[in-house]
């Protein structure tokens, strides 16, 4: 007999009302992968930094769980906290692993594609590298809309900016990526 899985809302209620840490632990277990991989993207692949920020994200979520109004999905709320934690950390160290370092050198297909690599895998590698040329808000918009599969409205909630700004960031990001990944273009 299979038991009905407990919903996020039920776990949140238990964590808030009864201070049930097992319930909160289950929430962490459910969402840690998405939050950690999002932060890995935002930090440009720095796993240790991303995991530290992910811990801060969940600790902040625990402290502010009472203020979660269930207007958005719990995952969207977590992404917002994660993004704010990431921004605060970026401000603290005052130096993001930014783009300008690598700007100007287009990614070459052959550069990334080892002989055994499939075309898709090679493209993924190049795309990952090309993402570094994006500014932090542009990268965040791409991560939320494409990697986390959020709508523009949800991404705007997470990033704390108007929907129009999200669309602009995505448009600019695509222009930059197009310039960097010119070798992958069907017209190339």
């Amino acid at each position: 007999m299979s038991s009905t899985p407990v919903s996020d809302a039920q776990l949140i209620a238990r964590a808030v009302v009864q201070d049930d840490r097992h319930a909160f632990g289950e929430l962490v277990r459910r969402h840690q992968s998405a939050v950690r991989s999002t932060l890995r993207r935002l930090t440009g692949g720095n796993i240790a930094q991303a995991d530290d920020l992910a811990q801060e994200t969940f600790l902040l979520a625990y402290r502010n769980l009472k203020s979660f109004r269930q207007e958005a999905k719990f995952s969207t709320w977590l992404y917002r906290i994660a993004y704010n934690v990431f921004l605060a950390d970026a401000r603290k160290i005052k130096e993001l692993p930014m783009p300008e370092d690598a700007e100007g050198e287009p990614v070459a297909v052959a550069d990334a594609a080892a002989p055994s690599m499939s075309r898709q895998a090679a493209l993924s590698v190049d795309l990952e590298r090309a993402m570094r040329v994006l500014s932090e808000p542009e990268r965040a918009a791409i991560v939320q809309c494409y990697h986390n599969d959020l709508s523009h409205e949800e991404a705007a909630q997470v990033l704390g900016c108007p929907v129009g700004t999200v669309k602009t960031h995505i448009l600019r990001a695509k222009q930059k990526l197009k310039a960097r990944l010119g070798a992958w273009s069907p017209q190339a």
């Binding site: 840490r21 277990r29 998405a34 600790l59 993924s124 990952e128 791409i142 992958w184 273009s185």
Partner: protein, 117 residues
């Protein structure tokens, strides 16, 4: 936007969507992450074990003090309330029974409070 732009945009969009699918499919193993988060949660606020019985005792003492200080008022209020409920004046047997019940309830509360801690 010319045709070339549209083709390029579509190609890039497809590549980003594919990368997104890969990203969502790639599960990051917990590897003790949840335990580390739970270990860093602030300690749950706990009351000292002696606090509850002491509070109950203080309330009982306060009640007894008030009873001693205002015997007439308590007596009148008590007799009036019981007469209202029961519909007849109280006898000595009724009062004795009520006192016994109150005493038993107070001791039960004390024992429960001590055990709960």
């Amino acid at each position: 936007m010319n045709t070339q732009d549209i083709d390029t945009a579509d190609w890039l969009d497809a590549a980003l969507k594919e990368a997104g699918r890969e990203h969502r499919a790639a599960y990051v193993a917990d590897d003790g992450f949840t335990a580390r988060v739970i270990g860093r949660l602030p300690a749950a606020p706990t009351l000292p074990a002696w606090r509850r019985p002491v509070i109950i005792l203080l309330w009982l003492l306060a009640g007894a003090g008030a009873f001693v200080a205002l015997p007439g008022a308590f007596d009148d209020a008590f007799r009036g309330a019981v007469a209202l409920l029961v519909g007849r004046p109280l006898g000595l047997a009724d009062i004795a029974l009520l006192l016994a019940l109150c005493g038993a309830a107070a001791w039960t509360s004390l024992v429960y409070a001590a055990k709960a801690n």
